[in-house]
Structure formats: structure tokens, C-alpha cells
Amino acid sequence: MNSESWQGWWREAVDADALVSRKSGAVVEALSRVGLGTALLAHHWTECLRQVEGVALGRDGGESAMKRAERHGRSLAELAGEAAGGVSVRHDAEREWLAAARRARDALVEAEAAIEWLEQRMGWRPRGALVQQFRVECQARIAAGLDGDGFRRGMRSVFAGRFEQLCTAAPTTTRLRSGEDTTVEGDDQDDLVRQSTLPIRQLSGHLQDVGLLPHLIDTVAACAYAAITRHVEVTAAGHFSCYALPPLLSWLERCVWPWLEAIFGNRSGASLADGHSSGGGGGEAAHWRARFAHHTYEALLAVRTREMFDMVVDFPDSLPALRDVRECLVHTDARGEFAQAVRAQFRRRLLQPGAATADQVLHYVNTVKALRWIDPYGLLLESVSEPVRQYWRQNRGDALRCVVETLTAPGGEALFELEASGVDATPLGGGNAANGDKEEEEEEEEEEEEEGAQAPWQPEPLDAPLRLHTSIRCGGAARRPRNADLLSRVIHMVSSREAFVAEYQQCLSERLVGRLQVPYEEALQQVEMLKVRFGDVALSRCEMMLKDVSDSRRLWNSARADGAVSVPDGTAVAPVIASYMCWPPTLCQSQGVGWCPGGNTTSSSISRPHEAPSLATMRTAAAAAAAMRWPEPLATVTAALSAYYARVKTPRVLHWLPHAGACRVRLHFEDGRVLEVRHVAPVAAAVISCFAQRSAWTESELLDEILVPENRQAATGPTPTVRELWQLQVRRVLRFWSRHGAIRAVDADTYQVIEYASPPTAAHTAVDALDMEEGPDALESQVERLLHDDDVGTASSSSSAASAQPEMLVYENYVLGMLTNFEALPLERIHNLLKMFCTEPPYHQSPTQLAALLRHLVNRGEVVHSHGMYRRRQPADL
């Protein structure tokens, strides 16, 4: 180039300089407050000068151009930094931001125009490249000069404010409503949305121009996440009866998408693609939508997880909420965390000492239903069940009882879904019980295979923990029927199926004989349903009990028709004649009192049911008579029925059981009080009818009165006599009547009728002995269990509790070893095992003696006696 052309270049450069400075002068003034403008200007200056300088370099006067550039550059850069620092602090209101952003954009546009001019004049090729470069550098400079945190904070409040506004402005119902006016309304709503997003659209447009929008992506996202979380919280928390997911998704559609659209607008492709690899604007929008939708699922899941326990408590009503959970679990990968959270929650809220076992059972049943509904594979349930199972087995000896009671209570069948058809009928093998677990296990495997053959095979879900598989394979503690029906599952939680059936039988026995009205039909139906599950063999005894009841009814009717038995008017009598082999042993004996099968009521071997009976005493005429003298009119009825039975069923005889059954007794006192008690044992009726004859009795007089003569002799040997056992029983009865205000103790063992109550009480009181006795006793026993986890209280107070006989002590190690190997054993089982295996020295002792030994061990703290089962004391019990 020659010098002439250089002169031209330089002149032009200076002109450009002047032009820019003139144009920018006004802008600088306008934007001094904002800072962005200044920053832009500063950049513009430096850039311009550098370009000019670039032109001038290598030619004459280059040095002076450099100097100018440096001087301007330095001072303006300082100015820019200062101004940018001020921006975010001062301006957080939206309008100011909008204004500032607009001015910044204007300045940028202006500067670009100047540069374009320069470019044009210089014939720079390709055209626009310099502008592009300028813009990028300019944006970088602005961003670098900003106080990032403050700026984001400010913008966040602006966006959030706009978002709120949009939410209130947006239609509250989904746009897709039926009807012809849908489109019109839809358009209206679109307009509304467009209007309410207009300011934010402008602001984000300006920010985009000055290059700040990409820096705000995180802010926008955080803002949206927070808004979604908040909205989910408001919509779903505590509302179990609403399926929250569809409204939430439509809310996203209505509020969040337009808002995002407004912010990232048409440029979404360009702006959002900066940080992400996906191409195309549509893909980008989809990406963001997916992210927000996912966040919605997560937030909803979090809310629902937190309230999982309450949802389970409300179970059938909370199905919509559970549906949310199920959907959310499909869309998020949070199964593991969910299971863990629910498990922890149940451990905290269900398994606490204050919760009654019956409630726990009820809640667990609901849990099974709820979790199964969420996760048909049952993995979730596995993880929640394990701590419950351990807790129940260790701390709640009454869990089995509660399960049975819940089942037999009204509505229990529906609760356990007993009506459900197509269950796997797994007969309880009567024969293979001795063969132990191995066979059972094989059976289970077979079952699994059979199941597999019926239903098409489904793979385990991917998140099935490996541990679970292996533990199922290997058997052991975690082995359980995973797809078993509800009842089997609950039974597995508390005990074995055999124990359940035994407990059920016990409960059925109480229902059949303990009330005046027998729920025969219901019981029959229930037993039929249980037969489907447990097999005919397991429930054959229950069936027999029911048959006894119906046979007794028939016999009673024919006896009355025959005229063999007459019942006074106004007395409703109904007998149950039991085939005692099929009934639980408690039917015949309670607290050592009662009739002893194979033994004899008149001998002192009453509490030794397993000793070989002495046939001579067994077959005396007295054996057929009751140990107790029955009160009238029951005495006549029992005697007559015994005679009738002996006649029609020779050579069978009846033994009346004075502690089983129920009487309804009404007492009339001198002061006009009437006390009516239902469901007291005949023995209580016998005692109180003694008081009707004479107003004051001592304990021993009472015993003499109600016992048949053969039972009256006092103790002579080490084992308690019939009389002693009866004494305890009578004492309980006396306490019962005193509690109800019929009698009171006047001295140590004399009781007297309260004919005149000192404060006149209600004229007519009706008491249900079942309720009265169960109430406090149940509470007591629970408290006791909490304190000691054993119920030796009544047992150890009996006469022979003090210490075991020395000859029994040799069996101590056998017993302890046995209890170490088995989880828990009833007295009878221990007795039988000893009989079977103890040869050195051979075991010939009676269960009473064994019971004494066990009490001794209980007192020493080595064994725990709880609900009829003995087990070794675990460290956890202390």
C-alpha cells in the first residue's frame, strides 16, 4: 500500500472514532445509572480502537494509534467494571431491569451499527464477521463484569413474580374441555396467557440480546423447580383422596410451559442449546419439559412418601394417593429410596411400644394391601415387612392372638380378603410335620413351580435386590411365600400356620361356649373359608367342634321333646356337649380347675392330665358327676341331661365343666337395686347363688358348699389338691363380685352381700362380664408385658411356685437345651419331648412338676414365659 491510501485509512479511522464518541456520548449519559451501557460503551471503544489500530498497524503513525488505544482502553475498562458491579445491587425491580436491559440492548445495537459502518467503510471481508465478533466479546465482557450472584438473585425474583402472576391469570381448568365453545375459550385463554407473559417475554428478549440469558438458565430452572415443589406440596400434601398427578401435569401445561416459552421464547433453540448437546429448538423444549415433568413426579413422590403411613392408615380411602405413588415410581428411579424411607417411617410410627398390637395388625394388613397395590411384585412389601416381623416375633407375643381376633371380629373376613377366590390351597401336611422344614421347603418350591406353570412367567423387576434372591434361594429367616395371600402373609409375620390354626381353634372354642348366643353360621362359614387355605386336615378339629355344637342342639331338642329334661320358664339353657379330643385343652381346664380327661375329678390327680388314669376311680359313679355342685335350676338340668345322655348314648357319659360356658345372672338387692351380669362362668353363678341363701360366707365355707364331698379334703402331698386349686378360683370369683358391688369383704376371708348400697347407685345395672373382665385385664396384661415381657404373675402366685423339686433339677439342662434349639415351646411339648428323649435318667414326672421347674427357671431369669410359651430369655428382654 502506498502512503496515500494509508492516509485515507487513518482519516477514516479517526472519523469513526469521532462518530462513535459522538453517538455514544448521549448513551453514556443516559446509561450512567445502569452501568450496563457504560460497560458496553467501554467495550465498544476498545474494540473500535483495536480494529482501527489493526488497520493502522504496520504503517506510519502506528505508535500513536497504539497509545490512544491503550489510554482509552484502560480508562474505559475501569469505568465499565465499576458500572457493572453496581448493576445487580441497585436494580432488582423488574421495570428497572427491563429498562436497563433495553438500554443496554439499544447501546449494543448502536455500537454495532457504528462498527458496521466502520466495516463498510473499510471494506472488511466477510461482511458482518466483525460485528459478530464484537458482539460475542461484548457479551463476554458484560457477563464478566457482572456480580453474578446478585444478578441471578434479582432476576430470580423477577421471574418468580411473573410466574405467580401467570399462575393466577392462567385458566384454572384444563383447556381440553368438552363442548363446542372449547376452541373459542381456548383462544381467549391463549390471549390471556400471551398478555400476561408479555413483559417477561420482552425482558428475556433484551437479556438475550445482551447475551445474559444463557447465564440465567440455572436460575430459571431453580425457580421453576421451587415453584413446582411448592405447588405439589399445596395440591397433594394431606389430600389422600385426590389423584393429584393429572391436575399437576395439566398445571405444568397451563402455567409452566407458557412461562418457559415466554422466557426462552423463539430463541430457545439458540439459547438453551448453548449448554447442551441436543440440536434443534423443538428437541430442546422437549428436553426441558421432560426435566420439569420428572421433577414433578419426584416432588409428588416425596410428598406422598412422607405421608405414606397416614395413607396406609386411611387405606381404602387413600387409593387415589397410592395411585400417584405408583405412577411416580414408574417415572422415577426412586424405588430403592422409597422403600427405605417407608421402612424407616414404619419402624418409627408403627413399631412403637405405645401402639396396641391389634392396631398394628390392622395397619399391617392395610400396608400389605396398599404396598401390593403399588408394587405387585411385593418387593416393597418385603422390605417394609422385615422389621415388623422381627419386632412382632420378639416383642409382641400376643400378635397371633390379635390376628385371630381381628379375623373373627365382624368384618374380619373382608379385611383379610378371605372371600377372594383362586388362592393357593396349601394343605397343612398333617403327616409331614415331623419331617420338619426340609419337606416343607420342597413343597414350597413345588408350589412355586406350579404357580409358574399356571401364570406366564414374568421376570423379576430390575431393582429386585440381589440379597433377596439369594436369601429366598437359601431358605433361612428370610424365606417366605412372596406371593402368598394376605392371611398367609400376616400369619407368616407372626408365627407359623400350625400355630395360627391352633390359636384359631382356641378362639373358636371361646366363641362357641363363652356366650349365650353362638355365632354358629358365621363360624361355619369362616371355617369353610379357612379350609380352602389351610386344607381340610388342619381344620378338622374346628369342624368337629362345630359339629358338636349342632349335635348338642339336636340332642337338647330331642331331650326336651322327650320330656327327659325340663327347664323352668324364663330360663334359656343350651348345652354344648364337646368331644373334648377335638377341643383345645383349655376347654376342660382353666387355672388347674376343671375336669381332667383320662383322670378323675374325685382324685387329686386333677392337674396331671397326662398321668395314666386309675381306672378304678375313673369308672366310679362319681366320675360322671361334676366336681362342683351346680346352682338351681342348673343342677336339675345337668343331672337330667346326664341321665338322658347316658341312656341314649350308652356307654357314653357326660362330664360337666363348671368354668366353661356362660350364665346370665340377675341379682335383686333389698334396696331395690338390680344387677344383671351376662357371660359369667357357671362357677361364679354357683358362688353368688350361695350368697342368695345366706348373706355372709367365708372362703372355706363356700368351698365346702360348692364342692362335692370328695373334693373337700385339704392338701397332703406336694401337689396342690383340687381344693386348693378351687380356692384360687373361688377367690377370683369373689373378687369379681366385689368389683361389681354385689358383695364386700368384711374381714380377711368373710364376704357379705351389700344389700343396701351406701350411695344409692343406679337402680338397674347391666354388666357384660366379658367386657368388664376383658377391659382391665387386657390392659393389665399389656402393661405387664411391656414391663416384663412375661406373665408369670398369676402362675407364680400359685402354691407350688416357690422352688422346683430337687429330682426335677436334673432335667434343667435338657429343658434349657431344648429351648435353645426351638424358638418357643408350650409346656406340653416340652413334657412330651422329655418323655421321648430323656433316658438318662428316664423322665416320669408330671407336667405339674415340669411347670414348677420352668417357673423356677423363669424366676432365675433364664426362661421367659409368655402366653403359654416358654423361651430362652434373650438379651433384648432385659
Binding site: P575, V576, S695
Partner: protein, 87 residues
């Protein structure tokens, strides 16, 4: 005080009134059933021979039907005759 018993559900247990508790053939209690039966009592009655030995009816019939019983009571080896029940 006057005491009225308005109603009662009385419970009794029945036993076979025989000279033994268990069947000499199946070794099961008479109050339960023989090995083949399910229903005790009427379903599985007792049979008493003139030798006074009682067995489950089904047990003794099975025994008598077998070739080597020679129609004898399995306990005392006397000829088996059913005792007349009606007295």
C-alpha cells in the same frame, strides 16, 4: 338378695365309659377315633366283647376279618362275642 339365673350355656364333655382308655388294637384313645375315622363318638363307636375288652368297632371288625384272628379277642384270645348293649 335374690339370685335369678336367666340363662346358661352349659358345657359338658363326653367320654366312653369303658374299662380302658385306649383301643388295644390301634392304641388310640376311645375318645378320639380309630385310624380310619374322622368323627369321634357316634361316628366311631366302641365295641365291647363279652370278655369285657373294649375296642373301636372298626378296629375289631378289621381284626376279625383278618385271617389269623381266628375270631378271637386280640387281648385274651377268647372267642369274640359282642356284649349286649341293652341292659
Amino acid at each position: 338378695m335374690r339370685c335369678e339365673i336367666l340363662g346358661a350355656r352349659l358345657v359338658a364333655a363326653w367320654t366312653w365309659n369303658a374299662s380302658d382308655d385306649t383301643c388295644g388294637i390301634c392304641r388310640l384313645p376311645f375318645d378320639a377315633t380309630c385310624t380310619d375315622c374322622k368323627l369321634p363318638g357316634d361316628g366311631c363307636p366302641l365295641a365291647i366283647g363279652q370278655c369285657t375288652h373294649p375296642f373301636h368297632l372298626h378296629c375289631i371288625l378289621k381284626w376279625l376279618a383278618s385271617a389269623n384272628s381266628r375270631g378271637q379277642c386280640p387281648l385274651c384270645r377268647q372267642e369274640w362275642q359282642f356284649q349286649q348293649q341293652a341292659e
